[in-house]
């Protein structure tokens, strides 16, 4: 037996051999590892501890570098951990902290081993055990070993003490009740003479205070002392971190720390400490003007530094300060704007945030214009950062800063044409959202949508499909505002739409349906209107004009009253059809060229608006385009295409009948088709509105429908649920009624539009390129003309762009007060409920352990002295009172183990007396420190009397502070004199 083990260890490969072997394997590494694993599996069962530990070491290595599973060796890890030799033990501990986790079963076996090693005289063994605990401690381990940790907290060996303090964090988070036992001793270590220990304790408090700052307010005096006295930058940084949390909760504390912090900021040569001071000031001391001024001065130093890290952090600090003190950003805006063209991605992004922070209602148009131009020249990633931040800034709080929606909608259109644009989904959502919410912008929206749809080049870019889908939807839904529905129809049915995915093709088809219904309906109306207008001469023309002005809103009302009532509609539709006539007339090489604006509307009524030919042409075009699609495999597309075709066929059959109608003017007998068309038109002209986020909640659940039946699995499957797609917009009742100012606006729009020009271009183009390749109106600024992404003249351009921006922000700042917008801001529909509900639902769920922990800490710091009174009221012994108090925090799982708890607690009970005696000595020490007395003097006289024993007075104060605490648990009060 003995002989074999010697031979084993003799021929065993060491870790170094293994590594060398692995490096020799250029290929077939996995084969070599498999072979090594075979050896390890054999060696690890060896009775020789040396062989076993080396095998484990190799396994640990393979696990950490090559990800080989080592959970099977858990028991061997425990064996090696319990070896008496330090070198073996070390290997075992490393393996355990690498492979054990909460679910490892053998973890139950190591409690005693850990306890033994924590009590070891060899400080390195203690260190190993502590290290292991800091990584793998479970609730059970933390509970069982709390007494040992407690003892180690007051050890004289610095090497061990540091680690014992650091391990506390893990212990507290796993077993909050450990706070009751060891918190006081932890606090005492803040006054340790060893700087290394203090550094670690402060680090621990920094972590604790991040989770729940309020509980640590009572320790503020200790931290203050460190802030003033310490010379260690690391410790100071951590203390500043703590204060930046605490000062937010306690304004008096902020007042107290602002001077020392400024002092550090001025004096220190360490950039890290200086930056931490700056950050503390800009996060929580913004009320102190002098401090902020100093911080901004220091930030400027950082911004001027060549080190990109410092520059980045300077910008970072500015953007924290920005929302509260915009002047600081404006003061440095030149640097900020120049940084937009920095080579460093962090700096660019940070300055972009700052620039967007400067955006306001009055300058949003200028800033975004420059940024959009700049985005064209940037690399794709930053370009999308720019677009994304513009989108989110402008849409913030339901488009709060947007006054001119026409501008914004055309901006969205321009963004879509950016070759790098990957924000399709966001732009899609905004286009539709604005359409739903802002009534007045719809004509412009339709125009933007048309420009997008009509450009065949855009159909080749998959990134734009979502935007095109929105454009198609908008054009269909608000087709009444279209200048030329026929053109729109051509765009929707152009051959390249077969590049679109089926879901978007379906939207296209549905929009085509809406346009068709609209055209046919207008055609019908015209037929009926003409006789009346010829008979009644001028009067109806005037009435038409009047009703025309009210049309967009008036029609809504009319539809609500009676969908089939077209007396009102009659006044409404000619306007649109009128223009279409003009377009068509030109398109067909027209006989009439209309030059005289308003007068023409009544005149042109006498001519055929939607000519018979044009309708026939339309129907044929639809048939040609959709017949192939009606055989599509995609049901959505197929079904919609067939619906359209069905209507087309019906109309074609009855078209002669419709024509005849012209002659017998006041005949009430209507053909079937026109009835259907009117019905469809009425259906489509119902207004769609935005929906509140919480709308679904208000729908009553029908009886017998089990909504929560085992569908929880689905959540994991559909991890990231898509934002509500446009299809989720249901038909709601009319939401907007607003009349003033709008009609005028509409009117001027009609006049000023140079519509003839574009359409004549269009006609020309068609002749040259055949039917479908329609030019977009805005081709000049369209995608063709963009400078290439890697323009050789880039630096120049960049500078131009940034210079431009510098000037612009200056300008916009000056004119900030002036109302720059001529038009009043249109009404934006907001659903004021819902959003808030949403926010509250999003509230973070705290870890239950965190609550337990902070409760325990608060108890110790504020409510500790209350316990005797508690036990006084309950005439049982102290420990039972203690246990009773503890019961509150115990979960049901813990309750069964309360007996063990009692045991674990014992050292804690022994300690108060010893702690108290310690405090006395501390109190004496403090007497010698004159600074402390000064501090005391600053407080009011009554408390000065108590300064003979600082500690004692504090304890009394705690008792005092405890009373309000019990009444209102959340408002922890820091006793006055502590500040």
């Amino acid at each position: 037996m003995a002989g074999s083990s010697i031979m084993e260890s003799f021929f065993q490969r060491s870790l170094e051999d293994l590594i060398k072997g692995l490096r020799l394997q250029m290929i077939g590494e996995s084969k070599f590892i498999a072979k090594a694993m075979e050896e390890i599996r054999r060696e690890i069962r060896s009775t020789d501890p040396n062989t076993k530990s080396i095998a484990l070491q190799k396994l640990t290595y393979l696990n950490s570098i090559h990800g080989i599973d080592m959970s099977w060796a858990a028991f061997h890890v425990v064996e090696v951990m319990s070896s008496t030799r330090f070198s073996h033990k070390k290997i075992g501990y490393l393996a355990s902290s690498q492979s054990f986790h909460d679910g490892t079963e053998v973890i139950l076996l190591i409690t005693n081993q850990l306890r033994k090693d924590l009590n070891s005289t060899n400080e390195f063994e203690v260190g190993l055990a502590l290290h292991c605990l800091s990584v793998i401690a479970t609730t059970d381990l933390a509970r069982d070993l709390t007494p040992e940790i407690f003892t180690l907290l007051s050890t004289s060996k610095v090497f061990v003490k540091k680690k014992a303090v650091a391990v506390i964090l893990r212990i507290f988070s796993k077993y909050p009740d450990a706070v009751r036992v060891s918190f006081k001793r932890l606090v005492e270590n803040l006054e340790s003479s060893d700087p290394h220990v203090v550094s670690v304790v402060v680090g621990v408090f920094c972590e604790l205070a991040t989770k729940d700052p309020r509980s640590y307010l009572p320790l503020a005096p200790e931290f203050y002392r460190i802030l003033v006295d310490s010379k260690n930058n690391w410790v100071l940084i951590k203390v500043l971190k703590i204060f930046s949390k605490l000062a937010l909760l306690e304004p008096r504390l902020a007042k107290r720390v602002v001077d020392p912090i400024c002092e550090h900021m001025r004096r220190t040569g360490a950039k890290s400490l200086m930056f931490e001071c700056i950050r503390t000031v800009v996060t929580c001391l913004t009320d102190y003007e002098s401090a902020v001024k100093l911080a901004v001065e220091k930030i400027r130093e950082l911004l001027g530094d060549d080190d990109p890290n410092l520059k980045y952090l300077g910008l970072n600090a500015l953007s924290i300060l920005g929302p509260k003190q915009l002047w600081a950003v404006l003061e440095n805006k030149e640097v900020v704007i120049k940084s937009l063209s920095d080579a460093d991605p962090n700096i660019k992004l940070e300055s972009l945030h700052l620039v967007m922070g400067m955006v306001s209602e009055s300058n949003v148009a200028e800033i975004t214009r420059v940024l959009i131009n700049y985005a064209l020249k940037s690399d794709p990633e930053f370009c999308n950062d720019i677009l994304g931040s513009i989108l989110s800034t402008c849409s913030r709080n339901v488009y709060e800063i947007i006054v001119d929606f026409d501008w914004y909608v055309s901006l969205l259109g321009d963004m879509s044409r950016n070759p790098h644009c990957r924000k399709g989904e966001e732009i899609e959502n905004q286009l539709i959202d604005i359409g739903l919410r802002v009534n007045d912008v719809r004509p412009e929206l339709v125009r933007v949508g048309r420009d997008l749809l009509i450009d065949p080049a855009l159909l080749g870019n998959p990134l734009l499909y979502r935007i095109l889908s929105a454009a198609a939807w908008v054009s269909g839904e608000y087709v009444v505002f279209s200048k030329n529905p026929f053109e729109l129809m051509e765009a929707l049915l152009q051959p390249r739409t077969n590049l679109l995915p089926s879901s978007i093709r379906a939207v296209y088809t549905q929009s085509a349906f809406k346009v068709l219904v609209f055209c046919l309906h207008s055609y019908l109306l015209q037929k009926e209107a003409i006789p009346s207008s010829t008979l009644d001469d001028l009067a109806p023309g005037v009435s038409n004009l009047i009703s025309e002005r009210e049309c967009p809103e008036g029609s809504d009302l009319a539809k609500c009253e009676a969908p089939a009532d077209y007396e009102q509609d009659e006044g409404f539709n000619p306007r649109v059809s009128n223009r279409s006539v003009e377009d068509l007339a030109i398109e067909n090489g027209g006989d009439i060229i209309v030059t005289h604006g308003q007068a023409s509307s009544s005149v042109s009524l006498e001519n055929d608006a939607f000519t018979h030919e044009s309708v026939v042409y339309l129907l044929n075009m639809i048939k040609m385009a959709l017949v192939p699609v009606s055989g599509s495999h995609e049901v959505e597309v197929q079904e919609r295409a067939r619906n359209v075709l069905g209507l087309v066929e019906l109309v074609q059959q009855e078209l002669p009948g419709l024509l005849v109608q012209k002659e017998k003017s006041f005949d009430n007998e209507e053909p079937k088709a026109s009835k259907i068309i009117k019905l469809m038109h009425a259906a489509f002209s119902k207004e769609l509105g935005p929906i509140s986020v919480s709308a679904q909640e208000r729908v009553l659940v029908p009886d017998g429908l089990m909504l929560k039946e085992n569908l929880s699995d689905l959540e994991t499957i559909y991890g990231d649920v898509l934002l509500p797609p446009p299809s989720s917009i249901s038909i709601g009742s009319r939401l907007f009624v607003e009349r003033n100012g709008v009609s005028l606006f509409m009117h001027t729009k009609v006049e000023s539009e140079p519509s003839t020009e574009s359409t004549s271009q269009l006609a020309e183009h068609r002749e040259r390129h055949g039917l479908y390749y329609l030019p977009a109106e805005k081709n000049e600024i369209g995608s063709n003309d963009y400078p290439p992404a890697n323009d050789p003249q880039l630096p120049d351009n960049l500078n131009d762009g940034t210079q431009d921006l510098v000037k612009l922000t200056e300008q916009s700042l000056v004119s900030k007060k002036k109302p720059t917008h001529a038009k009043p801001r249109p009404m934006v529909v907001k659903l004021d409920d819902g959003d808030e509900v949403h926010v509250s639902a999003m509230k973070l769920v705290k870890e239950p352990n965190d609550d337990l922990l902070s409760d325990a800490v608060r108890d110790i710091l504020l409510g500790n002295e209350a316990r005797p009174t508690l036990s006084r009221s309950n005439p049982s012994d102290k420990s039972s009172g203690n246990r009773r108090g503890k019961g509150v925090y115990l979960t049901s799982e813990h309750a069964s183990e309360s007996k063990e708890l009692g045991d674990a607690e014992k050292p804690g009970h022994g300690s108060p007396s010893s702690r108290r005696s310690k405090h006395h000595t501390h109190g004496k020490e403090r007497h010698r420190s004159p600074r402390k007395n000064d501090e005391g003097k600053e407080e009011n006289g009554q408390k000065n009397k108590e300064k003979s024993s600082h500690r004692h007075s504090r304890r009394k104060a705690r008792r005092r502070a405890d009373e309000p605490l019990n009444a209102v648990a959340q408002t922890t009060v820091v006793p006055d004199f502590l500040l």
Partner: protein, 183 residues
């Protein structure tokens, strides 16, 4: 070279790959911080330092100071340099457990335990002394037996690139050491 503690092996590979992609995409002479929310969860940042063929990467959250983290990497590398007498890539490859000892002395359970490389050195030396006792004798035997093998591997090491780390001539923590440093 990345130092990561407590990652599951499956996720670790993908995380390593992501970090690598991020680091490779960064030019020289840019800032050393990267927002790492997408890789390591909310409120995390990554700081890296590039020495010759090695990247040292630390991941931290808002309870640490960025510049102090940058210096901590310096402390780590400095300590390695002292321990291995002019550290090179291969020292790290072959001294798996010593690397762990050093790192454990600097970072403990996710907290920074020590920021002075002299202190770390002291501890590491004593721990090494403690465990030196037996394994030496055995490995001597093994080396005798595997002499030819050893020579092979050394030549391979040369091919693989035996590069010294380009360390700064004098070690200083520019951000953490100011005029008022007690140590």
């Amino acid at each position: 070279m990345e130092e990561m503690v407590g990652e599951e092996p499956e996720t670790r590979d993908s995380v390593e790959a992501e970090v690598l992609i991020v680091l490779c995409s960064r030019a020289e002479n840019v800032s050393n911080f990267v927002e790492a929310d997408s890789i390591f969860g909310p409120d995390t940042r990554l700081v890296y330092k590039h020495y010759a063929t090695l990247y040292f990467v630390f991941v931290f959250d808002s309870s640490e100071n960025e510049l102090a983290m940058l210096d901590l990497i310096q402390v780590f590398v400095e300590t390695l340099d002292k321990c291995f007498k002019n550290v090179c890539e291969l020292d790290m490859v072959f001294n798996f457990s010593k690397m762990h000892i050093i790192l454990d002395e600097i970072i403990f359970g996710g907290q920074v335990l020590e920021t002075s490389s002299t202190e770390v050195m002291k501890a590491v030396e004593e721990i090494s002394k403690c465990s030196l006792s037996l394994s030496l004798s055995l490995s001597i035997y093994i080396y005798i037996f595997t002499l030819g093998y050893l020579i092979d591997s050394v030549s391979i090491c040369h091919n693989a690139g035996w590069r010294r780390l380009q360390m700064q001539s004098c070690f200083q923590n520019p951000f953490l050491d100011g005029k008022v440093d007690s140590r």
